[in-house]
């Protein structure tokens, strides 16, 4: 049989995507800092983290689902729905903390719905979540009535600016990163997620209950997405049915840049974190350097394509 597997230096370099990301981030930071010393100021770095937090949280949820071999198109709609639920409940006079809790539970249950249908029907997750994307968005529109929901009563939790010295949304993001990192590393369930994504049939034959596991995975993802909704609500100070729209694909993009395989079984929270950090730095740098928003869009799109191609270099057994 003819060996088609190539081995070149590029492959060796890219094999460990995390090392690669760190190198790029460091090099890029130095270059931008040399061009403009404002880049490394505390204020700018704080800003940078504020900018990436919501996408960051959603990308962790997406990463969980992707590692298990799934996909979730409903992330953005769910952010909008949860934010609309919380804002509406607060305006109805329900205590703020209860409203947030109810919103988060509702978000987690939406995830349960995704997971349950995907697990039981064995349909492609893309299709099922394409459907629930519409459902969640529809509910958000019904709740918001097509308007922006502003708070009619004073809020305190959602306007809290700092927790333990971190800006609140950055704190939420870092909390999610650490929590999911430990969850994947230390729990038996974390191992199951990798097993299912790595080889679902093998996981099944190793005795793992695929249906229960998948339902749980999407539930946890729903929970994390709800936290993204809370963070976004804090950032914008109001809710609407379209506020989350951009986050689905940005979450996928940053997960892919972070080395998480769309085919499942591969990737880490650390990679995901670095992926989003890189995107954030590039976009922040382009702002500082005065690159127009339209051109930024082009460049960020190209980066996703390049990252995807690079991560495939390592496993090409078949000639195209």
């Amino acid at each position: 049989m003819i060996e088609l597997r190539r081995s070149n230096t590029a492959q060796g370099l890219f094999r460990n995507q995390i090392t690669f990301l760190i190198i790029i981030i460091v090099v890029l930071s130095i270059i931008v800092a040399l061009v403009n010393d404002r880049f490394l100021s505390v204020q700018n770095i704080t800003n940078l983290f504020k900018q990436i937090s919501v996408t960051g949280i959603s990308s962790i949820a997406m990463a969980l689902v992707l590692i298990s071999g799934g996909f979730d198109l409903s992330v953005g709609s769910l952010i909008s729905l949860v934010a609309c639920i919380i804002a509406t409940l607060i305006n109805k006079g329900i205590p703020e903390s209860s409203a947030i809790l109810i919103g988060i539970i509702a978000g987690a249950l939406c995830g349960t719905l995704n997971g349950f249908v995907i697990a039981k029907s064995r349909c492609a997750p893309v299709i099922i979540t394409l459907g629930t994307m519409g459902v969640f968005k529809g509910f958000a529109l019904l709740i918001a009535g097509g308007n922006i929901i502003n708070f009619k009563v004073p809020v305190s939790i959602l306007t809290k600016t700092e927790v333990l010295g971190f800006p609140t949304i950055v704190f939420i993001y870092l909390f999610v990163v650490v929590f999911v990192f430990l969850f994947l590393k230390l729990t038996v369930f974390g191992k199951r997620i990798y097993a299912i994504g790595g080889n679902e049939e093998a996981a099944y034959l190793a005795g793992i209950n695929i249906a229960v596991s998948k339902t749980l995975i999407y539930t946890v993802a729903g929970l994390i997405v709800s936290l993204a909704a809370v963070a976004l609500l804090m950032r914008l100070g109001s809710a609407s049915a379209v506020m989350g729209d951009a986050y689905t694909l940005n979450a996928v993009a940053s997960a892919v840049i972070g080395g998480i395989a769309i085919s499942g079984g591969k990737g880490s929270v650390g990679g995901c974190f670095l992926g989003i950090l890189l995107l954030g730095i590039i976009s922040n740098a382009m702002n500082i350097l005065g690159v127009t928003a339209f051109l930024q869009q082009v460049i960020l799109g190209l980066i996703v394509v390049i990252a995807a191609v690079v991560s495939q270099l390592g496993n090409r057994d078949r000639s195209v």
Binding site: R192, G198, A206
Partner: protein, 497 residues
């Protein structure tokens, strides 16, 4: 009749394994040339070379007088060679007619001439005396009818060479008869046909010549009427008994597991048997005889349509692999890559996955996992740089040992090995035989499915033979030999229906 295909000194190596050795073979136009041999004799390799899927290491292929070193799929098609593989490679959601005329549609300029195609399809179906509605969606046809569609497709393409790889596997007598008749009609068109079969009765009905392949070499070629089933069987087996595995000296104990009336629609029919403590129970049969399917039913991986299972005289209900593992049954699938390896994960993770899943703990005990993985890597002599290496980087034999370790760790009682040594080098094979023997000596019970008769014969205390989803024979003691087993599994034995 003219010779249309001639293979001269064809050799194929896969790494250090020689799959074909100096094979010379001829096919004439308007001839049906049957190719028989045990599993692993090299038949599939030969067809893959002829269809252009793989390139031979040495030798030459003469087709229509032209000489080639190797073929490609496109070249094979250009030389009017059609191959019909065991699995149906067709478009299930198109009609029978569309499948038959795929690539040879009747057309009006750039448009598809549906009317004309229907007329021609009906004509074709009439002359071939087949019972197929041309406008039926292929998915709704029986597997046998789908096979007929494929043969018709090759027929309308006026293929000069047609290769059929075990076309009748799992068909009923009538269906086989129909298919054989169609193939004979294709032959009358002048097509040279290579027909691979595991069923000698078919060979007797259809072959103009038979060639026996064994261990990658041509053993003999017989003309019609110049051979008997005994001659073919002795040509197919007649090998030196392998010496590298030793029998255990161990008495089987009481019955541990009893399988009663296991069935799954069309693949496993009413199978009953028992398994004793410390016993290695071999399962013989040709590929597609339902052995792996039966194993998956016992393990709860697939749903059975009927049957009950007893473990230690207690009836148990196994509805998924998780339940099977809880009851001490484990399963090592034949396709490790597809069904056993958890890709990208470390050797340690692959070893502990079933164990950590079976205990109801929330958190992993990583120190314990590491300790146990190291223990089994030593015990089973798994060759890996460390327990944290990815399983994908290991050789086949070592991957198999990792999966064995997985089941040692959960302390299984019944081990179902499906082709435990497939794709494994000789050294690792020996290791695996040793491990299986050790398991039996420890009082574990082993079901061993293998297509390699020598290993099955050497390892088994008892051999059950399956054919078309049913048990057709049981042999013990000195009856465990290639002749007896083969005569059951290919149906030359008249005692078997």
């Amino acid at each position: 009749m003219a010779t249309i295909l001639k293979l001269v000194g064809l050799t194929k190596d896969f790494g250090s394994v020689r799959a074909l050795s100096n094979v010379s073979f001829e096919l004439e136009s308007g001839e049906i040339h049957c190719l028989v041999g045990e599993n692993g004799a090299g038949k599939s390799t030969l067809i893959k070379i002829l269809s252009g899927a793989i390139a031979p290491t040495g030798g030459a292929i003469h087709i229509h007088g032209e000489i080639f070193k190797s073929l490609t799929p496109a070249l094979a098609r250009k030389l009017e060679t059609e191959t019909i593989y065991q699995e149906n490679i067709i478009c299930p959601d198109m009609t029978a007619m569309e499948n038959i005329y795929l690539g040879t549609e009747y057309r009006n300029g750039i448009f598809y001439d549906k009317k004309r195609t229907i007329v021609e399809a009906k004509k074709l179906i009439d002359t071939m005396e087949v019972d197929i509605e041309p406008l039926e969606i292929l998915r709704n046809l029986s597997p046998a009818q789908q096979k007929v569609v494929q043969v018709l497709k090759a027929f309308v393409k006026k293929a000069k060479i047609l290769i059929l790889d075990e076309p009748t596997a799992s068909f009923s007598m009538n269906e086989i008869e129909t298919l054989l008749n169609i193939i004979k009609k294709v032959k009358l068109q002048g097509t040279g046909i290579i027909f691979i079969s595991h069923h000698l009765d078919e060979v007797f009905k259809i072959a103009d010549r038979v060639t026996v392949l064994k261990d990658g070499e041509i053993i003999s070629t017989h003309k019609k009427g110049k051979y008997t089933s005994d001659i073919l069987i002795s040509d197919m087996t007649g090998r030196e008994p392998s010496t590298f595995f030793k029998k255990r000296h161990h008495q089987a104990g009481e019955i541990v597991m009893e399988v009663k009336n296991f069935s799954r629609k069309n693949v496993v029919r009413n199978v009953s048997f028992n398994l004793k403590r410390g016993e290695v129970l071999g399962f013989a049969g040709m590929v597609g005889s339902g052995r792996s399917e039966l194993a998956r039913l016992i393990f709860g991986a697939d749903k059975k349509t009927a049957g009950v299972l007893f473990m230690n005289d207690k009836e148990i209900n196994i509805k998924n692999p998780h339940a099977a593992i809880k009851h001490g049954i484990c399963f090592l699938p034949e396709d490790r890559k597809r069904d056993a390896n958890v890709n990208y994960q470390s050797v340690a993770d692959n070893i502990v996955i079933s164990y950590i899943n079976s205990i109801s703990a929330l958190f992993r005990n990583i120190r314990f996992e590491k300790k146990e993985s190291k223990k089994y890597i030593d015990l089973l002599k798994i060759k890996t740089p460390s327990e944290s290496n990815s399983i994908n980087n290991l050789s086949g034999g070592n991957q198999q040992k990792v999966i064995m370790a997985r089941w040692f760790l959960v302390n299984s009682q019944v081990f179902i090995f499906d082709e435990p040594t497939r794709g494994i080098d000789v050294g690792s094979k020996e290791e695996i035989y040793r491990l299986i023997n050790e398991l039996a000596e420890q009082g574990k019970s082993i079901i061993m499915i293998s297509s390699e008769l020598p290993e099955l014969i050497a390892m088994s205390d008892r051999v059950l033979i399956m054919k078309n989803g049913t048990l057709v024979g049981e042999v013990t003691g000195s009856d465990i030999n290639e002749e007896t087993i083969l005569s059951y599994s290919i149906g030359a034995n008249k005692l078997v229906s």
